[in-house]
């Protein structure tokens, strides 16, 4: 659970995550905006489908991976921008 200090006149950025509208502040990374909106699970792992969310916030752990415009990116290194369509990376189906 995260809360924002102060109510500065920062512009808002509206985007979607898995179809749900998220409103972040200009200057937020996607990860910060999603955490502020109460999303803590960003994806499931390809190996065991275990839930994951941001861990290091500095581009090192790659746990906060999301898909933007068909490209897998680190949510903590990607600025939140108006109109982005953000989704969790698909979990590959287990090999029979």
């Amino acid at each position: 659970m995260f809360e924002r200090i102060g109510h500065s006149a920062t512009a808002q950025v509206r985007f979607t995550f898995n179809g749900e509208t998220v409103i972040g502040n200009a200057g937020d990374s996607l990860a910060a905006a999603l955490l502020a909106a109460g999303h803590k699970v960003f994806r499931d792992t390809p190996t065991t489908a275990a839930p994951r969310g941001p861990f290091c916030m500095m581009g090192s752990c790659f746990d906060c991976l999301v898909v933007v415009d068909g490209e897998t990116v680190q949510a903590c290194q990607t600025p939140a921008q108006v109109g982005l369509v953000v989704t969790s990376p698909p979990v590959p189906r287990a090999q029979p």
Partner: protein
């Protein structure tokens, strides 16, 4: 700037100070930095921070303003948002910015890529809601976001600092769970050399602890057997302290066990590295001026060995001064004069380290976790898996990739590398030095095939407002 004299990678304290000095002395300098604005992790977003953020983060944070001002005034080129993904022995640096790749070459490189938090493998550490203390601080610095009712767990000065910053912002941590034991305090008595500065650092820590006590934040010491509970997200932290098992309910657990050098670039360059027994990590082998085993490649700051932001600033200046000498722009005597105060201050900061290393030494169970604990978060490889590979004859970290993909996920071993070395060394009986580390190869960050295919070598685009 098609061929600068010097490329500095990373604009934290070491990179900012080094680039500023080299540029002031007449070198053409290109600074490549991954973040939207200079400052590194320590002074992250300082230039754009609000008054409220500055108050919450305190004087250690605002102290970076002088470095930012120096960098802004220096005749150099800064490219922010530049993700470096290849550096070779010929000192060609490949980076991407806004989805385009660029290549630039220099006579000298100064690598100031800083530190990352030491991995903290314990049961449940992969659950959503578990983050590093540094991650929580980044959220404060960049977005003014505060974790509510979080439990801070581990060891190190950053743990106290983040707790106090949370307190000042009006959202004190639910509890502070420290893994330091009385043995840590006894160990520091052996480090008389840095003791005076050490005690000053301790006094600073004690002041922070008093501030926390006044806020009646519960504190547990000598905690062991830490485990995060929860199925699909963290719901609590379980641990044993003073013979009693505790379970604190919380949705956010912030872990910390100190920081270690980020050696991805120095490793990819195949520079000589050695194991630091006191800091339990590898670092590049350097001259007292920061020169690596490649005479035209220098390393400064926490990427060279952990010594903190003040030391990084001085080390950046020392490296810049020696690069100027190496390039024939100044004599050795002129270098000594130019870097005299930086050298003196650096020695002072470094003298303090053995004291802090001993005081905040990570517990053995974190360095070499029990079998069930996930070590490689990306590929979900456990400590037990790695011990099993060792029994099958796996001798080194690069072989663990073949045995079970440890270190082959998107983070490229950044998060599991040191643990894999420690667990293998323990299993084989070899030293960490002889066990070695993952072989790191470009691309150091994921790039698209399109970026590689479209790679062109003409001059990089002009940066925002800092080209002389």
């Amino acid at each position: 700037m098609t061929r600068p004299d010097l490329i500095v990678i990373g604009a934290g304290p070491a990179g900012m100070a080094g680039a500023t000095m080299a540029a002031q002395q007449g070198m053409s300098v290109l600074v490549l930095d991954e973040q939207p604005a200079p400052g590194g992790q320590i002074f992250r977003n300082l230039g754009a921070s609000s008054t409220q953020q500055r108050q919450m983060l305190g004087p250690d944070y605002t102290a970076g303003q002088m470095l930012l001002d120096g960098l802004a005034a220096a005749p150099l080129t800064l490219i922010s948002g530049a993700v470096v993904w290849d550096v070779d022995q010929e000192r060609t640096v490949t980076y991407s910015k806004d989805g385009k790749a660029y290549r630039v070459k220099a006579n000298y490189l100064l690598l100031s890529t800083g530190a990352m938090e030491r991995p903290v493998p314990l049961p449940g550490w992969t659950l959503p809601g578990v983050m590093t203390a540094g991650a929580a601080q980044i959220l404060m610095k960049t977005s003014g976001l505060l974790a509510k009712d979080a439990v801070l767990a581990g060891s190190g000065p950053l743990l106290y600092l983040v707790a106090v910053q949370m307190l000042r912002a009006g959202t004190p941590p639910k509890a502070l769970v420290e893994t330091q034991t009385p043995a840590n305090y006894r160990a520091v008595l052996h480090h008389a050399g840095g003791a005076l500065r050490g005690w000053k650092a301790l006094a600073k820590g004690a002041r922070m602890l008093r501030e926390l006590r006044r806020a009646s934040a519960p504190r547990y010491t000598a905690a062991r057997d830490l485990a995060i509970t929860g199925d699909t997200a963290a719901s609590g932290l379980r641990f044993t302290a003073k013979g009693q098992v505790h379970h604190l309910e919380c949705a956010t657990v912030l872990l910390h066990q100190g920081v270690v050098p980020n050696t991805q670039i120095t490793r990819a360059l195949r520079l000589d590295h050695q194991w630091h027994a006191g800091q339990r990590c590898f670092h590049p082998v350097l001259s007292p001026w920061g020169q690596s085993s490649h005479s035209q490649i220098y390393v400064a700051g926490d990427g060279a060995a952990i010594a903190g932001a003040k030391a990084a600033e001085h080390a950046g200046q020392c490296a810049a001064a020696d690069i100027l000498r190496c390039a024939g722009r100044i004599t050795a005597a002129q270098r000594d004069t130019l870097a005299a105060s930086a050298k003196r201050n650096l020695a002072g900061e470094q003298a303090l380290r053995p004291f802090l290393d001993a005081l905040y030494a990570p517990p053995a169970a974190i360095l070499r976790p029990p079998d069930a604990v996930t070590v490689c978060r990306c590929e979900e490889v456990s400590a037990g898996d790695i011990r099993a590979y060792a029994r099958l004859g796996c001798k080194g970290p690069s072989q663990t990739k073949a045995f079970g993909r440890a270190g082959m996920g998107p983070c490229q071993g950044r998060t599991c590398g040191l643990t894999v070395t420690e667990v293998l060394a323990q299993a084989t009986g070899l030293s960490p030095q002889d066990t070695g580390y993952f072989k790191i190869r470009a691309p150091l960050k994921p790039v698209t095939l399109g970026e590689v295919a479209a790679l062109h070598s003409p001059a990089p685009q002009q940066p925002e407002g800092q080209d002389p």
